[in-house]
């Protein structure tokens, strides 16, 4: 079926079968590959995108359910918060293989959007669904705190 999505500030016409996960529409149809496939069952967070600013797992979000929402992928991040997060990620060289990091950053931006000064416990709780097989967690935690400081400055 034909659908119109609002993605990264643009409207995009796509053709997809009902029941298709948003992940595959973003990756295979729209060819925005920053959003990653890691598990397909909402247990790793690699596919995290924002729907109206809220992080969701795109592998478990059906395309027909998001026609009314503003979808943001890693490529469309463009706010003071996302700039602070990306700066902190750079300063601390968080990434290793990097494959999980789009999802980590989308979740971190989600966290800081609703809580500008999260505690370590709040970070751990919020980021629990974003797996990193390279175990960069220590730096993710520090980078979220650093981003919070950058935002405050």
């Amino acid at each position: 079926m034909a659908l119109t999505l609002k993605l990264n500030g643009e409207t995009r016409d796509v053709v997809a079968e009902p029941g298709t996960p948003l992940l595959w529409v973003i990756r295979d149809e729209l060819k925005l590959t920053g959003t990653k496939f890691g598990c397909g069952v909402a247990s790793c967070g690699a596919c995290t995108v924002h729907l109206d600013g809220e992080p969701v797992r795109s592998c478990q979000t059906y395309v027909e359910d998001v026609e009314d929402a503003e979808i943001t992928t890693i490529e469309g991040l463009n706010s003071d918060i996302s700039a602070a997060v990306q700066q902190a990620w750079t300063e601390l060289d968080v990434v290793q293989c990097g494959y999980c990091q789009s999802g980590q950053i989308m979740s971190a931006v989600g966290l800081l959007s609703e809580n500008a000064k999260p505690t370590v416990e709040e970070i751990d709780l919020y980021m629990d669904g974003n797996a990193c097989r390279c175990a960069t967690y220590q730096r993710i935690r520090a980078a979220i705190q650093r981003a919070s400081d950058i935002m405050e400055a």
């Binding site: 595959w24 590959t33 890691g38 990434v95 797996a131 220590q138």
Partner: protein, 726 residues
């Protein structure tokens, strides 16, 4: 930098055509150079007359840092700012880009990337620098010794100009066989905490290209219906239910009869069509055992006499020493199968090239294997197979199978098409978790005898498991007199002074495909050695650190280095000074020529729930080329070791894998470890591995902490053997 850029801009417009200087090594290892036209060698560095410098990185980047590390070596010796050096991944050519520690084989593994490149890349950078200096000296008619190259600018004898001006002339100069390398006191970049990762920018904005991200025009996606049991064959299949799925193209049995390939226009259609496919399997030759039976078999093997006497010592004499001891410790350990589960599921793409060959796009860890495999399967000469290496989303060993398993699958799938459309193979997480190539299961039984004063008098150590190396191209390097060194590494070569040690090994029959997994044999040997030493310290009534240090007083360099990290970790980790409610455990292990000690501090206990509060790590890996990358690799290695020891195992029921995805092969999560602190012991020794050595001591240090609260865990994972985690 501004100076450089503006001059470069000027030069660009002034130059009629760009000249390029390549410096690398010939197949015989000699440093050689070529210009763009006559390039008969594959280079390590490429310098163009517009001033751009590119490092050609022969080791693939799965996050462990070679894109940064090898680029640093070039920039250091050449004398250019690291920010001005780009990098690209080397093509597949085992003659030139072979791993010096692997023979004529190009690949990344065994934590060798820096160890085998340290001199090679520095020499290439230094040779290029000398050629540029000589070219400048010729033009200015001065002595080369008066000139220096710093920050991309050649200076001296009253002259000054950017290196770009001499690239063309330098291409005609023969490089010195042994260019002068910098003395470590002259290093600006090696060892600097200010060199940032080269691969951070594309990895935080979604532009980094992994093999999974490749989308070629007109490509087909193929997913594979694998046998649910190892060794099963396709009896028949029916694709009728898949036909209604939009985008489904067709299903075809692969020529090796092991699986059915499902082709579709996109990934989701391929995954759905595979679900809709029904396959009848012939299990007559398939694995039918359960993991309990495999475990029983391994434990029986370590209880009986071993197949191989690894230590060459007298088993009966050692047994007599132990039987006569005043205290005897007798423990049996079990380690389950483990999957690697790199974050990016396995994938690669094959496309036909205009010259009648193929191009493989892959996050390729060991290019030589798939290169040969594709050549055989697709019946193409080697030179008609090219490999484009992309970023890899983790590996931990999984992308380096000696039989090139997933690239072979892609080639077989490509072979059953008319070869006009590119074929992209995609594995799901379920394919990955159930797909074999596991860390083999191992059992150990150790008997240790102590005398009245708590001194070790005998150590009988038996190991049983499935050999990783037998039947692979690496067999001749690693298997000697039947003993696969990767099954026992870390035991007979333990740096501790252990009088009367016997080590025996029994290889058990193949149960699944097995593979090296981050730190290989050390994943289990370090656990056993460091658990037993801890138990011996306790039995002797001694402090675990003092007890270990006493066993390291042999005076050799190995022992001094391992004692060095042990002391540093104990000091920085506040050994013996844990706060109220906290308990510490320590372990130390040498692997891949690096020495790592870790203190794990926990709260709680096995019954009420353990929380890992802090890990303090000390590492001696020789010269620390990039301290921050080393720290990151230790952090990651610790997390990888602890996460699996806590929670993960692959089990089989009647030959079928019980786990399928992250919900039942649960990754380490952010809250599992409170903090990790890494300290690097300064060293002038040559650099050694960092990708793996952080892993081995982590699980035994945790086990030793938990043991101090009352429960000694001798089988993994911990959650299935009596430990609760918070």
């Amino acid at each position: 930098m501004t100076l450089n850029t503006s001059r470069r801009g000027f030069l660009k417009s002034a130059a009629a055509a760009v000249a390029v200087l390549y410096v690398g090594a010939r197949p015989d290892g000699a440093i050689a150079a070529a210009n763009a036209d006559g390039a008969m060698l594959n280079p390590f560095v490429k310098i163009s007359s517009d001033g751009t410098v590119t490092a050609i990185v022969k080791h693939f980047e799965k996050g462990q840092g070679p894109a940064t590390g090898l680029t640093t070596l070039i920039a250091e010796e050449l004398g250019v700012p690291i920010e001005d050096v780009d990098y690209e991944f080397a093509p597949s050519d085992a003659g030139t880009y072979n791993n010096l520690l692997f023979g004529p084989f190009q690949g990344t593994g065994g934590s060798t990337a820096m160890a085998n490149s340290f001199m090679q890349y520095r020499q290439a950078g230094a040779a290029a620098r000398d050629m540029l200096l000589q070219a400048a000296a010729n033009v200015w008619d001065v002595d080369m010794a008066e000139l220096s190259l710093e920050d991309g600018v050649i200076k001296g004898a009253g002259h000054e100009a950017p290196l770009a001006e001499f690239v063309r002339a330098a291409a005609g100069i023969t490089p010195a066989a042994e260019p002068r390398l910098k003395d470590p006191s002259e290093f600006r970049l090696i060892g600097s905490a200010n060199v940032r990762r080269k691969d951070t920018p594309p990895k935080i904005n979604g532009t980094a290209m992994y093999a999974m991200d490749l989308h070629l025009d007109n490509q087909m996606v193929v997913v594979i219906a694998h046998s649910p049991r190892m060794g099963g064959l396709v009896a028949s299949f029916d694709e009728s239910d898949a036909k209604g799925i939009k985008g489904f193209i067709r299903a075809a049995e692969l020529p090796n009869k092991a699986s059915v390939a499902v082709f579709a226009e996109n990934t989701w259609a391929a995954l759905q069509a595979r679900d809709a496919l029904s396959v009848e399997w012939d299990f007559s030759a398939a694995e039918a055992r359960s993991s309990d039976a495999i475990r029983d078999q391994l434990i029986a093997a370590v209880t009986a006499d071993p197949e191989y006497n690894v230590s060459g010592t007298d088993q009966a004499e050692v047994a007599a020493r132990i039987d006569g001891a005043s205290t005897v410790l007798d423990e049996t350990f079990y380690f389950p199968l483990l999957a690697h589960a790199p974050m990016e599921p396995l994938t690669c793409t094959i496309e036909a090239t205009a010259d009648g060959g193929v191009l493989l796009h892959d996050g390729c860890q060991m290019p030589t294997g798939p290169h040969m495999a594709l050549s055989q399967i697709l019946q193409l000469p080697m030179e008609k197979v090219q490999i484009n290496t992309l970023f890899a989303g983790g590996s931990f060993g999984r992308r380096a199978t000696p039989d090139a398993d997933y690239q072979v699958e892609a080639a077989l799938a490509f072979a059953v098409t008319d070869r006009t459309r590119p074929v992209k193979l995609v594995w799901s997480r379920e394919d990955d978790i159930t797909g074999g190539y596991y860390r083999p299961a191992f059992a150990h039984r150790v008997r240790v005898g102590l005398d009245d004063s708590g001194n070790i008098v005998g150590w009988d150590h038996r190991i049983a498991g499935q050999s990783i190396m037998k039947g692979t191209p690496f067999e001749s390097f690693i298997v000697h007199d039947g003993v696969d060194h990767s099954s026992i590494e870390g035991v007979p070569d333990s740096p501790y002074n252990i009088p009367g040690q016997f080590v025996g090994l029994t290889d058990v029959a193949k149960a699944t495909t097995v593979l090296w997994w981050r730190s290989v044999g050390h994943t289990h040997t370090a656990y056993v050695m460091e658990s037993m030493i801890d138990m011996a310290a306790k039995a002797a009534g001694r402090d675990p650190v003092d007890f270990r240090l006493a066993l390291l007083e042999g005076g050799d360099k190995d022992q001094a280095r391992i004692a060095g990290v042990l002391k540093l970790a104990a000091d920085k980790g506040g050994w013996g000074k844990a706060a109220e409610g906290r308990t510490q455990g320590i372990a130390v292990h040498k692997s891949f020529d690096s020495y790592v000690a870790e203190v794990v501090e926990i709260s709680g206990d096995a019954d009420t729930g353990v929380q890992i509060e802090k890990v303090t790590c000390a590492v001696d890996c020789g010269i620390a080329v990039n301290p921050d990358v080393i720290k990151a690799q230790m952090e990651g290695g610790i997390g990888y070791g602890l996460g699996h020891a806590m929670r993960d195992e692959i089990t089989l029921t009647d030959g079928e894998v019980d786990q399928s995805n992250f919900p039942d092969y649960e990754p380490l999560r952010i809250g599992d470890i409170g903090a990790i602190e890494v300290h690097i012991l300064p060293s002038t020794e040559p650099p050694t591995g960092v990708g793996e050595p952080g892993t081995p001591p982590s699980a035994p240090a945790l086990a030793n902490a938990i043991a101090a609260t009352g429960l000694r865990v001798t089988a993994l994972p911990m959650i299935n053997n009596g430990v609760e985690f918070m």
